[in-house]
């Protein structure tokens, strides 16, 4: 009854046909069943944002969604940001502005910022701050993350 169900996770354009228990979170399925370990898991209860991915058009906490709920919906993770050897403007800006140290939180911040900047390219500074307050970083002190996202936003608008 609580047995496994067959689902297909479409991650960065590639289909992964997998079999999971209904209780499998999307975060665990992405990492364990699909082998895409760029998405990190920090707290497993929605507080840290390390697991943020884009489902459909929305940034979501993948530890708070069940994998079966994302069956067939396009998912984007950090592995899909770079085009070949060319980094996404956000990835480059994080390097240029020292927006990461250990890098544990970085995939979550990148996916959060990607989803929001695609939706609202002209987002105000205040709104951007509200968005970036969603995720935790234990290393950088946030200032450089904010600088990086602002710089990438300007570049993406140009």
């Amino acid at each position: 009854m609580t047995g496994k169900v067959a689902i297909t996770l479409n991650i960065n354009g590639r289909d992964h046909a997998i079999s999971v228990e209904p209780r499998r979170t999307l975060a665990d399925a992405i990492r364990e069943n699909c082998g895409q370990t760029g998405t990190h898991i920090g707290c497993e209860h929605g507080v840290c944002g390390a697991c943020t991915v884009i489902v459909g058009d929305d940034p979501v906490r993948s530890c708070l969604m069940f994998a079966a709920q994302a069956d067939g919906v396009p998912i984007r993770t950090v592995e899909g940001l770079a085009k070949g050897d060319t980094l996404h403007p956000l990835q480059r800006a994080f390097m240029d502005h020292h927006g990461l140290q250990c890098g544990f939180c970085t995939p979550g911040f990148l996916m959060l910022a990607t989803a929001v900047l695609e939706r609202e390219p002209n987002i105000t500074d205040d709104d951007l701050l509200d968005v970036l307050a969603s995720n935790l970083c234990r290393c950088t002190g946030y200032q450089n993350i904010i600088k990086a996202v602002r710089a990438a936003a300007a570049e993406m608008r140009a």
Binding site: M1, T2, V5, E21, P22, R23, T25, D28, E44, H45, G46, G49, T52, D58, P59, V60, R61, C63, L64, M65, F66, A68, Q69, L112, V116, D130, V131, A133, S134, N135
Partner: protein
Amino acid sequence: MKPAPFVRHVPATVGGATDMLAEFGPQDGRILAGGQSLVPIMAFRMARPAHLIDINGVAELARVSRIDNTLSIGATVRHAAFHRPVADAEMGRMLSTVVRHIAHYPIRTRGTFCGSIAHADPASEWCLVASTLGAEMVARSKRGQRVIAAEDFFEGIMSTALAEDELLTEVRLPILPSQAHFGFYEFNRRAGDFAIAMALVTYRVTDGVIAEPRVGLGGAEARPRRIPEAEAALKGRPLEAKTFQAAAEAAAQAIDPIEDIQADAEYRRELVRAVTRRALERSVP
């Protein structure tokens, strides 16, 4: 930190969902809406439901609509739907001001308005809005439909009048009258945290004095509610600092504060005084 096993059911219609609730509700079954409260408590194993009825695919529940003077909010409408005003004038502004204080952006893309109401955390912003405006909750089961007034719906900390076979299909919020003013103030320690105390006030101004005041408090007691003593201190008075102070004092005296790790009763009373006054100051046109 992994949820216990459960069986997932996926209804396509409200009728399908209530049939499933009638069958599985008594067998430790629950509704799964946005999952932003339920999944964390399942991860902590504080809840181990045997069945989850996932209503996210029920198209008819995804609507916000205006019917006369009420705003009807369906069960799968996300918090994020309120980032931009969904109604004219102060009503839309009030909802889009308040929503900013609920959790964080990627939680607001999944969490639902009705899920907050059904979860009934004493510090939920939407529960405060529902209580202050006098919302009606529409509960549907195989047995039929009933409409429950906010003051009867919230029974205590995470406890509501919903029966185990009832689906909250919709919340009906009375739309603020034209020329209404509102003010909202929330105190918490970090952005996105639950409120330690918060206040929502609404009123109109006629002949230079306050008319139809409503003062709602959340996070302070076991359930959000209007504070008649504070409303009496506003009614018929001019909009000035002295009036606001009197209302804030009345609110602080009227409450029976909850105590938790964040704040003891005396500190909460202080916070209620402050948030009531600040909500009133923010309401000034």
